[in-house]
Amino acid sequence: MVQLLAADGTRTPHAEFDAVLDGPDGAGGLATPERLRGYYRDMVMIRAADVEATSLQRQGQLGLWASALGQEAAQIGAGHASREQDYLVPTYREHGIAWARGIEPWRLLESFRGVSHGGWDPNELRTHPYMIVLGSQAPHAVGYAMGLQRDGVVGTGQPETDTAVLALFGDGASSEGEVSEAFTFAASFQAPVVFYTQNNQWAISVPTSVQSRVPLAQRSRGWGIPSVRVDGNDVLAVLGAVRIALDSARAGKGPVFVEALTYRMAAHTTSDDASRYRPSSEEEEWAQKDPILRLRRHLEQLGEIDEAYIARCDEEAHDLAMQLHHHIHGMEDPDPVGMFTHAYAEPHPIVEVEREQYLEYMAQFENDDDIDKSAEQKGERA
């Protein structure tokens, strides 16, 4: 397992990773103090948004929430490892990925509240909508990558336009048949796709040890897909591994599999109670490996962070949480008929008929809101 930052924040040299992290890529590399502080702030922000979302679910404002607590480094690192033109295909617990791709947290909340089908334009942000069905997105991602090959934007030697796909899934989804099928197609066609698993140790209540007799990273090797396992709570290791993998894929060298070893600090979702199947001692053990704390210690060792910066991050994170809190109370329910709008890219006669039928069906009901509104109007006139 590749680890660049030890638990106490000390950085270990690693020739291949250091070349990518500290190399000429970007403005002075991916691990400049400015960028490191940026990752720290990203992680603090996304954690605050996550905690707030859990509260909102408990307050009846979200149908469900899947917390990503503890996986911040695995997500912020991978998100920032992707290049603008890359296409990311997430699962449903990728709030840090979304943040790094420029998707505002309340867009995620819209989906979990059920007022939106996705919350963002996948083409604009080059990030697919969240996928709830486990593993279903892996073949989609490979298909997209095969499409890129046919578009001729792979292996041309132009790093600014050559494109790769980052397919994300969890340890549980890695046991789904779709992932195996995706491996097959990706390997056969040498598609420019990086499979990225955040192994957070628990597939709801099933531990990884039950799911696989070997480290997950080894699974892809039978397909001839090279793999690497990194410390998922180490933002630099993740960043380096995913950047190397994506650049290799975009250069036309075929798929790569990256396993980031991390831990889901919260329950599977707000409907789950983790204390029923795992010991709190395990959670305490992983709390010692907290990804945010680790990066902070590293920055402290470098002398590149001070109390004022930490306090400001915390304050901004609190503000973000309160914004989400107030924002969600103002969300409006969408027009139910809107669900027909995006069923197909182009007009479709059957969908049109169904839309009309649904409108007729809706017309059968009295609408309490309408009644309330007309009552209000009368009151105003009076």
Partner: protein, 504 residues
């Protein structure tokens, strides 16, 4: 943008703005929860997202938080209450406190100046496209004279059924589809019911074939099941068997007087030589039940020592069988089955004495009580319609009842309407006893420890698995002969399980 003022965003000294924090559905599709702990008291100041109540649902124990800041003015529920989703839990007065969170605008597109976005995208976490944040900031800072109209409204609940005061249901405007012409029931062959209705029936202990089906094409509806339950129980049976978190026997008397929740019991006092514990909860129920039973029903107990070797062999065979690997089978399940077979031959024992109506009520169903020693005391949940169960279902049912009881999650419903009980004091390595009837029942079978003993078989002394059974019965309605008959039949099946084929 909804014109409604987001709750908790406005308030002014003196203006009374009471917000009720309801029980929202903390899972997916849950309908009720039990109050485990109330974390605030009247007069407490709470901030947004402060945990106020901990509840336990069918899925998990969760902390519920307040969506507004303010002062707690009322607590509407008590620990131990089982309340439906939508019930108000506490009330918070949002007036008078500081205006919470003006949601200040962070400078420069939400990213501080010295932080370089590490990805090529400009990251903007600021809701620029949405007016809510600005509006909020404006409202919050301008909130000086807030009138009653501007008081925080109840937020519209997304999840669950909403607050009871503000149902979000829509009414059907057109007439309901006409009822089927004759309204006749489809004859029972295959019972038609949707899975959730079947589950409801199972949960309520209602046998589907006893339910009058009124749904389309003879399907059993939810309401049918509820009606059937109403008939069966004649009243409200919801609730928890353990009304409060107060097991009466603290571990290590005089020592660590702590409950499972690490809180001292209220009312427990202790000096060097004695500890006084208020009589409550299970101990109180047990005492009342025992007194009621022992002093109204004249008890007679008969005993029989039997050779259980055959029954024990069946248990070990089943344990070794692949089909039974996931079922915990114990001699108790076999004994329960033997009792059910014996009841079938002597149905008059399965009855109760109705003093008020001066009637004996003979029951055509067996709700088989299983006495369980739990950390909180003795409780007797029963297996509904045990007479319809296979041995496997009995084994699974008994394990489930025991597990639920030990976990302290037995519902009141589980303990109601028992018809006859088995108590297995053999687990305490006791040979025999005189069990007291569960109130309202007429018989209770006691099972002693199964021990290897010398036994005479065909004139030879051989070691056999021997146990003593005892049967206590209510002599008002069961004569000695009938009681003896029942115990003899139970014994016969256990000594020669093949009789189960003949009688069962």
């Amino acid at each position: 943008m909804n014109a409604a003022t987001p709750a908790g965003s406005a308030g002014s000294p003196g203006a009374s703005s009471i917000v009720t924090i309801p029980l929202n559905d903390p899972g997916e599709g849950l309908t009720e929860a039990e109050i485990l702990e109330i974390k605030v008291a009247v007069g407490d100041r709470v901030e947004i997202n402060a945990a106020v109540v901990e509840v336990e649902t069918a899925k998990s124990a969760v902390e519920l938080s307040t969506h507004v800041a303010g002062t707690v003015v009322a607590i509407l529920v008590a620990v131990g209450d089982e309340v439906p989703v939508g019930t108000g839990l506490i009330q918070v007065d949002t007036a008078g406190g500081p205006v919470p969170s003006p949601a200040p605008q962070p400078a420069a597109g939400h990213r501080s100046a010295d932080v370089q976005p590490s990805s090529p995208q400009q990251i903007s976490a600021q809701p620029e496209a949405d007016p809510s944040a600005e509006e909020l900031a404006a409202q919050a800072t301008a909130a000086t004279a807030v009138s009653a109209e501007a008081a925080p409204e109840e937020p519209k609940n997304l999840v669950g059924y909403g607050t009871q005061a503000a149902p979000q249901r829509r009414r059907r405007r057109l007439a309901e589809p006409a009822q089927s012409d004759d309204g006749q029931q489809v004859p029972i062959g295959r019972i038609l019911a949707k899975p959730p209705v079947r589950k409801l029936a199972r949960d309520l202990g209602v046998a589907l074939h006893d339910v009058l089906a009124t749904g389309p094409e003879g399907t059993v509806t939810r309401q049918d099941v509820l009606n059937a339950q109403q008939r069966a129980y004649g009243g409200e049976v919801d609730g928890d068997y353990f009304p409060e978190e107060s097991p009466q026997a603290p571990e290590g008397l005089g020592g660590a007087m702590k409950s499972t929740r690490d809180q001292p019991f209220s009312g427990v006092t202790s000096d060097d030589r004695t500890t006084r514990v208020p009589i409550r909860s299970v101990r109180k129920r047990t005492a009342e039940a025992m007194v009621a039973s022992a002093f109204t029903a004249p008890h007679v107990t008969v005993f029989n020592e039997i050779d259980m070797t055959g029954a024990v062999q069946i248990v070990s065979q089943l344990r070794a069988s692949r089909e039974w690997t996931d079922v915990k089978i114990s001699p108790l399940a076999v004994i329960a089955k033997a009792l059910l077979v014996a009841i079938r031959r002597n149905p008059e024992v399965n009855a109760s004495w109705d003093e008020a109506n001066q009637e004996i009520v003979y029951k055509h169903y067996v709700n088989l009580g299983i006495a369980a020693a739990t950390p909180r005391g003795l409780i007797v949940p029963n297996l509904k319609d045990a007479h319809l169960m296979t041995l496997r279902e009995l084994a699974e049912g008994i394990s489930e009842l025991a597990r639920t009881a030990r976990a302290g999650r037995t519902s009141l419903r589980d303990t109601r309407d028992g018809t006859i009980t088995v108590t297995n004091y053999g687990v305490f390595d006791i040979d025999s006893g005189t069990p007291i009837l569960n109130p309202g029942e007429s018989a209770i079978l006691g099972v002693g420890a199964i021990k290897e003993k010398p036994w005479v078989v065909d004139g030879q002394i051989v070691p056999r698995q021997v146990a003593t059974l005892s049967l206590s019965f209510d002599h008002r309605l069961i004569d000695g002969a009938l009681g003896a008959e029942l115990l003899r039949d139970v014994s016969a099946v256990l000594e020669d399980p093949s009789l189960g084929l003949v009688w069962g």
